[in-house]
Symmetry: C2
Subunit: 233 residues, 2 copies
Amino acid sequence: MAPTELILPGATSIIMNPESFPCQLISWDEAYQLSRKLARVIKSSGFRPDLVIAIGRGGYVPARIVCDFLLHSLLTSIKIEHWDIAACKRPEAAVRFPLAVDVRDQKVLIIDDVTDTGDTLRAALGYLNTLGAGETKTAVMQHKTSSAVVPDFYADVIKDWKWIIYPWAAHEDLVGFTDKVLSAEYATRDHILARLKEQYTLIVDENCLAEVLDDLIDMKKAEEFHDKFRKIR
Amino acid sequence: MAPTELILPGATSIIMNPESFPCQLISWDEAYQLSRKLARVIKSSGFRPDLVIAIGRGGYVPARIVCDFLLHSLLTSIKIEHWDIAACKRPEAAVRFPLAVDVRDQKVLIIDDVTDTGDTLRAALGYLNTLGAGETKTAVMQHKTSSAVVPDFYADVIKDWKWIIYPWAAHEDLVGFTDKVLSAEYATRDHILARLKEQYTLIVDENCLAEVLDDLIDMKKAEEFHDKFRKIR
């Protein structure tokens, strides 16, 4: 989920300013160790899934790693998206790409990266239920206590809410955050880096920022003039 | 693909002893940089897919990373497996988990980790063709020149065949290789590590080996006696 799709205060009881909140960048090694630990937790529970389902897109990497340690070959995916429903205070999670596999009476393990509100796991569980799946368990690397759904398995608990940036989503997340810190006034790269640090506790590499600004310009969300950048209204 | 499923000499023109061949372990950082480079190659080609399809299981991680740099949300997967056909000299690639998405006239980007014989990409392309997909391109991190199919996009070319171990498949690959180096005679951990190095150019961490041996014992493929290990016939 990109930060532009952030489910903000309405979704949870957290009082949070959407213009400034703490972020944490997870390294590849940390994500690997979390997924490896998650696999151990699942293994020691005795649950042996017939099928592993990655929730797209966040669950792709942890699900692949968990399958490695479970020596599990049968991996597939569903895509769950969050839609803004005009009448609702918060986006609604719904299955965008369904399953093409018969799950009736199968033991299913659903894997995502993180719980935030819990809406994604709830939508996945409801969907698997309508398909007649057998015993269905959920697993995430990191479980935020802000989530209304507690997954069956997790490697880490996060009590103080923060936005977690996984390495496979770092570019897109950074595009979202940089878009937020740009304003109608032109700003230098140093200014932008300082705002990312101040508002989102993010320390960003200059090369990464260059790639992000290129994308924002390509998308006609930003413009450059004499090495300074501003948002296009 | 685990090394136990290795497509050996019959599949390509490589003369190779299945009991000993060079392996290379790719780190998370290397896999990330390869996927990032792959995204740049795709982007600079001007090809803008409507849908990205990861080939399971090897394509899950590179496809997720490529989607990050392409800022592409629509990611799904198919699973392709290699089946041993009694009458054939080599396994046949076939779709195990199909697509649940309408791809008619869609521009599709298929992503896998590596080409080896090219059978996987050929099966994927044939399958997408039967579904009436529009322009369909293939992309891998590493293209081996042993492959009969040349992907449209790749980040790296491998001319001297070797088995590449990706970080998301390291445990399973190591289980396969350790199973191969075990014999009917009991061997110490040091002996096993030495054989892995000699036969497969693999330098393996002791903790990883411990986890691998545990799995082989659980699977009743190996047994332990006084800190020594042997294959169960």
